[in-house]
Subunit: 436 residues, 2 copies
């Protein structure tokens, strides 16, 4: 059988990794697929060393549209990233009847609906395993492996940079800003680290997972997103004293009131397996009604781990070239006519337990006053930690763990506490999940 | 589209779970699949309560062959277990052109080659996700999600009963025999617990994983199998002192000398995520050349977790009814003509680090004598732990960790040490893996 022909758009970290894996494991892949995969085109700017490409008779161009419009190409692999050019290229490829594989979470999370409609209209496949949690085959797990289940919730560490920073803060007592600088030097974080540390990248990925889990449209703009830049080493340490670890989680859950879709720092019990996922590694915990909890762990970024997912998608796509859509897993896991319109909940209506830290004047009665506020708001306290004042200081840290409470209710209580003269500055609030 | 028709053989734990999940999540499954799945037949003996079956117009029979021979049935789901009857039924179903889904690891591991040949000849699908690690979609992960990789090794906790026993021994200092009795009372272990605690069940599963990973034939009879019944709480505690946990692992690895295929108790560093998988839970760690380490965690047994995998297989199978084998993932992950004949290595030739514990007379020079034996065999010691003698005893426990050494070499050294008058009884040996 003739080799399937792949055009690669982009030869950066992931593009380079994809070319490397496809070429190095060519034989292995042929053994699994029963067919060869050939990179016929690469679109990239300023390639320093063309030796490998030339040796494999790959045509190199600076015009990505040339690849997308070449009749010879079966599958376009978009690894440029970003929204605008990537979107135009992907839509053009689809229009030209080509299958598309992409690692672009931003593109899928924000322009997914338009792309999926175009793909269905043109009868082509759009595969995006690499868009969520890098090399972990989590999309396949949720969309196929757990298809028998009603998914109840998903909680994931889905940004490696954020997890690296939180791990260093805990293990070495280092500051957020200092670790961030190191992460940038190591090449983990972008020069503009906003997408990583403010949770935008995680929100893109969570949006995709929620759609696959619950059969809802991709709705990135409804995802509540909070980063880790305000987490202090004190919070990390107090959480530890109370038996918790702070992780930056993406959480989506179906409730009677709608679907929760939220990314924020979260205290989780240190006994949970996912609490022990450290460094740049990712992990996704999926709770199904039949299977119970399952967890998927691996590298969430990097050249070859991401390429592992890209190439798996290419293999799956090649296998199904030429057969009808009715034989394929639907692009978002659900038959298009069966998509649900369950609304995404406002964060105001979400219920979670909370960790609260405040600076209180070191004088009698403050704890009683604060406790009274929570009692009036009908919020039960699970634990209270009052630290010795640092020598010479007149303030103490007061740490509270609440039971489950709606966001609007805890917000009101926090506002009241912050109005006290005995409480300095604002109250730090980190949500807490038991994940059971 | 007409409903796909399923005949269920067996209505025990997994069969009951499968019926429950298929009926309860019927709507959900239809939304994903775009087609209904109907249980038309159930073959089982002595069903006490037929209400649910009658309500869903399921035909009940005591003769499983009636189901296998019914022209109306599209997919036969074999959940009887065991070798003989199950094999006859599965082969007859295949001969009748029916697709087969099974959770029967013993059947696949031992009669897999014959079954796969029959399936290919008749152009039907044989799916067995539930045969390994229950609800964890590990077969899909290895066969499809990681298809871009050369798999380097797999190490799994793939028997829940064994893991429950080892966890209890560590957490509560209880004896093997005592915990086993509790596991039986809880229904985790079979009345005859040999399959669980002597590693046969894990060996069945590992045989399947090795085949999927390396493209080799199923070769259960070549799997080295050692159980946990000789592990003492002392070993568990000494391992802990040295920073390790003892887990019952199935390990398969490709080396320059062939493929390792072995099930045995194993010391692993307590920092590894898989070392923290406790109780009845399963986890499989897969190392690929591109993706690096990935881990898959979940319930390895139980009615609904196993049903989750069975029903996922039914969904996949229904989706592909009517299309040619060339569009399907090969039954063992590799194109039939590309299967490899790399040999399985004898355990004698396998290299691992080792934990050794011996009873030594509490007198000067014993450690020197023992150390000398290992030096002569060119075996380096990583750690030595000599415990204070218990009051009144004249023996001490001497614990050694070796560096990597071939099995035949360490066997020779152990035999020599055991011949010393100062060493009482036999030397306990547990293999040690760093899993990095």
């Amino acid at each position: 059988m003739e080799a399937a022909k792949v055009g690669l758009l982009g030869l950066g970290t992931v593009g380079g990794g994809t070319a490397t894996v496809l070429l190095r494991n060519r034989e292995q892949i042929h053994k699994r697929l029963g067919r060869s995969i050939e990179i016929t085109h690469v679109a990239a700017l300023g390639i320093a060393d063309q030796t490998l490409l030339d040796a494999n008779k790959v045509r190199l161009t600076e015009d990505a549209f040339e690849v997308v419009n070449d009749p010879e190409v079966d599958i376009v692999v978009e690894l440029i990233g970003g929204y605008t050019l990537a979107k135009d290229l992907v839509l053009k490829a689809i229009e030209n009847g080509k299958h598309v594989v992409t690692a672009n979470k931003a593109l899928i999370a924000t322009h997914g609906p338009e792309i999926m409609r175009a793909a269905m209209k043109n009868g082509v496949n759009v595969a995006y395993e690499a868009a969520v949690a890098g090399g972990i085959p989590i999309i396949k797990a949720v969309r196929e492996g757990l298809a028998a289940n009603r998914i109840q919730w998903i909680a994931g560490i889905i940004n490696g940079t954020g997890n690296f920073i939180l791990t260093e803060m805990r293990d070495k007592g280092r500051d957020f800003a200092e670790v961030l600088k190191e992460a940038q030097a190591l090449g983990y974080a972008e020069a503009d680290p906003t997408f990583d540390v403010e949770g935008v990248d995680a929100a893109h990925k969570l949006t995709i997972l929620a759609s696959l889990a619950f059969g809802i449209e991709l709705q990135f703009n409804k995802c509540y997103t909070e980063g880790i830049s305000k987490i202090t080493t004190e919070d990390v340490n107090y959480a530890g004293e109370l038996g918790y670890r702070i992780k930056h989680l993406g959480i989506t859950r179906i409730t009677d009131h709608g679907i929760e879709l939220r990314v924020h720092p979260t205290l989780i019990p240190e006994k949970r397996l996912i609490a022990n996922v450290d460094g740049v590694m990712n992990a996704v915990l999926v709770q199904g009604d039949a299977v119970g909890p399952t967890l998927y762990y691996g590298a969430g970024a990097g050249a070859e781990p991401t390429a592992s997912a890209v190439v798996a998608d290419i293999i799956d796509t090649v296998r199904l070239i030429g057969i009808g859509a009715e034989y394929k897993v639907p692009l978002l896991g659900y038959a298009p006519e069966a998509m649900s319109d369950i609304p995404i909940m406002s964060i105001e209506d979400v219920e979670t337990a909370c960790y609260l830290r405040m600076n209180a004047l070191d004088k009698p009665g403050v704890l009683a006053e604060v406790s009274e506020v929570f009692a009036q708001h009908n919020i039960s306290l699970e634990a209270v930690l009052q630290k010795e004042p640092v020598e010479g200081a007149d303030k103490v840290h007061l740490v509270l763990l609440t039971q489950k409470v709606t966001e609007s209710n805890i917000n009101a209580a926090i506002a009241e506490v912050e109005s006290f003269d005995e409480i300095e500055g604002s109250v730090a609030r980190i949500r807490l999940e038991h994940l059971d």
